[in-house]
Symmetry: C2
């Protein structure tokens, strides 16, 4: 039954949309390692980064000190189309699990991009427009980032060119149509439009693509086209900064009801959702004000945190991007094609990598059949059809709640429901038909892939 | 720019979810004509209707007098999963159109069924469970009702068997997967599982199906299976009753800000969304308290109001259902296969038919390419990717707003945004590729189809 005074959905007012993004780096004693120039191995400067990124975003990328970054009014106006997003209490899931745990989730899927990605897309398109650009290029995995960017570019009247990982392009034919509705062009990656793509297709003709390769293609086109810059939907510091709206809103909503989470759980591909969700809570933890258990959940088939190494690596397959120190599986790592949808990136946010390395957060990996089992349980109890990516967090949350059932602990769990699964029905179909298999790379495969990381 | 004090999204609190459905029939001086037994041509009794429908729903169907029907607490609890739904101000669309009109829309697509259909599905599943049934059968056109019912049945642990109009089954392969996720079985209609289906397939082997035929199949299976009843997602009085939550919430939200709409616009297939949206406003109009302009928007390819006749007709192709007095194109009418998605029903709600006949509302029809043009404009301004059905209302709203631009009139328009188009990308693709054509039946076609209506 519903807890007294705590509604199923906690909505904030529009004037409670944060006025500032929170930069967690400002509270980190040990900052994330700097991006390095791949040629000189020296830290990248704003000038160098501005060759690829919009200038303001390059500044945000390297700014480890400004704690609060004002959100431009134009962006806040667009946030009002779908924000504040609801914070939900999973009463029906709790009841189904017969758990004493109290489960909350921040639902970021209630916009047309179907995920949290729009939070950063709007910011990046805004800065691109402000700089007077004609357009931007990007890559997309599951298609959520591409859709979000297509929407954002449409609002700012910017051209948008998306390289979409081929496996998703094929699994999600309708994603392309949504992006087209917003005026974007979409190319399956690897493509023959770039040197990087052509080279990879020659070497691995049957490849289903990877984020790493799609990034290289998008960067190559951006750098080679007048009036264009490259934008990226995850991993980067700037993206985690923009995504802090998730955590800030969640915390405001929880504070209203005096709720303090014990455990915060999020799926982790490149880390943008998790980094955004935990931002203000991690800030308290870093400042020694309060402790939280924080859990990153990743697929067993792409286990950067749990089986990767913390070292400098290439961010992309083509090795055209700066080097980043992060948990990585090696830039040549491509998950098995039976891996459904997103969370396919070989690396991980530098911020989260540093925090994980220093013990501020934990990580766990889950297999995809248990993920889809959790997804279906969630759909049938909470009503929302979750994205496969988000379902990793659901799966870990259910495991925590089941532990609480055993121990009787009334833990308060907050997890990030990053998006909806409307465009993932091919994966659901494979699950229903018993055609989905579990997969994890062998130690040999990982060693081989990690052997390609740069030595210096 | 945003109007002072009026936010982009007007949310109500959970305790503002209506406690009563409003039965507009109670305020109609001339009631809708009764359903007739197809054999005797006498008004159907609750006992007779209960052979097909759940008993409580049969009572609601025939109750022309009870003005307020209490919403059972179990249903209100489930409404909290996605209600109150937001009332949105279309600031960005207004700006794009440079219109002095103020445009509001009640957005019913923020749940997994992607439409308003869940409002009635939860009610119908509740009454079926309360009666101790094992399961229910139904038909679905665009798939929204089927998805909504699958969800509702999953929450109440009821079996759910859906006959899906073949053209939608083929255009929307992923809809079936969503229904499966909620445990429903889905059969393309016409099927070989029923007498009605087999007969139609023999007569018209290439038919893409119709709602009328899918209804017949679902009824045939319900009547022939122990512990099963038939449920229907539109047209019926009971459905309009449940859907009154849309209008009641919209009115509460508008009243909070002292907003009075001049014009209310909704798409009309069977009439459930429109009937629900206008309910409390029509009540005021019927009681002579206030006047509103009310516009039903239908596809030119299935123009029940604008080109049909107001007479007793069969509700289904197989002629197994009661006769209803309504605006109809004839129960054998099947829209051209180039008609995208829903709004394919040959008839219309008896309540709305009576109100339209007495001049309480107007109707207009629109062609599908202008509908998709409006849909794309809406997506690019308001962010939400609308369902093709909802886009009929958008199209008519834009035309009204353009008229206001010419006259300078600052009209306040409220329209129903019934759902999202995530599963309609095949239709969007046809539009983008220039493969979508406009179509309206010829006078001869309609005459032929209407010649089949019963004479008595």
């Amino acid at each position: 039954m519903q807890e007294k005074n705590i509604p199923t959905k906690i909505y904030l007012e529009e004037n409670e949309i944060p006025r500032y993004w929170y930069n967690v780096r400002a509270d980190m004693k040990e900052k994330p390692a700097p991006l390095l120039n791949p040629g000189t191995h020296q830290p990248m400067t704003v000038e160098e980064l501005s060759g690829v990124f919009c200038e303001e975003l390059a500044k945000q990328e390297l700014d480890d000190d400004t704690r609060l970054v004002e959100i431009p009014e134009e962006i806040r106006e667009l946030y009002k189309m779908y924000r504040p997003s609801p914070l939900m209490r999973a009463y029906r899931l709790e009841k189904y699990l017969k758990t004493p745990a109290k489960i909350y989730y921040k639902f970021e899927g209630n916009n047309t991009s179907g995920s949290h990605k729009l939070n950063s897309a709007l910011a990046q398109a805004y800065y691109a427009k402000k700089q007077g650009l004609k357009g931007v290029t990007t890559e997309t995995g599951a298609g959520q980032w591409g859709t979000a960017l297509a929407m954002a570019c449409s609002f700012f009247n910017l051209d948008c060119k998306v390289f979409m990982v081929k496996v998703s392009y094929e699994q999600k034919p309708f994603r392309r149509e949504v992006m087209r509705t917003y005026g974007a062009s979409v190319t399956p990656s690897p493509s023959t439009e770039t040197q990087v793509g052509r080279k990879l297709l020659e070497e691995f003709p049957g490849t289903t693509g990877s984020l790493g390769c799609a990034i290289s293609e998008a960067v190559e086109v951006a750098v080679g086209t007048e009036g264009y810059k490259y934008v990226l939907g995850s991993v980067l510091n700037q993206v985690l900064l923009h995504q802090s709206v998730i955590g800030l809103e969640a915390k405001t909503a929880l504070d209203k009801y005096g709720i303090v989470p014990d455990t915060i759980i999020g799926c982790a591909g490149g880390g943008s959702n998790l980094g955004g969700l935990i931002a203000p809570f991690m800030g308290e933890k870093l400042r020694g004000e309060r402790d939280y258990e924080i859990i990153a959940v990743e697929p067993a088939s792409c286990p950067s945190f749990t089986r990767g190494k913390f070292l400098y690596d290439f961010c992309d397959t083509g090795k055209v991007c700066p080097l980043a120190k992060m948990y990585t599986l090696g830039s040549g790592f491509i998950p098995s094609p039976n891996h459904a949808g997103g969370l396919r990136y070989h690396g991980m946010s530098g911020i989260l990598s540093e925090l994980y390395d220093k013990g501020y957060m934990n990580a766990t990996s889950v297999f995809q059949t248990e993920v889809f089992k959790a997804a279906e349980m969630f759909a049938r109890t909470e009503g929302i059809l979750p994205a496969p990516e988000s379902s990793h967090a659901i799966c870990a949350t259910i495991k925590e709640a089941e532990k609480c059932k055993e121990t009787g602990e009334e833990k308060t769990i907050l997890f990030g429901l990053t998006g909806t699964g409307y465009f993932d029905m091919t994966a659901y179909e494979a699950f229903h038909d018993g055609k989905m298999s579990d997969y994890a790379p062998t130690d040999e495969e990982l060693e081989k892939s990690l052997a390609q990381t740069p030595k210096f």
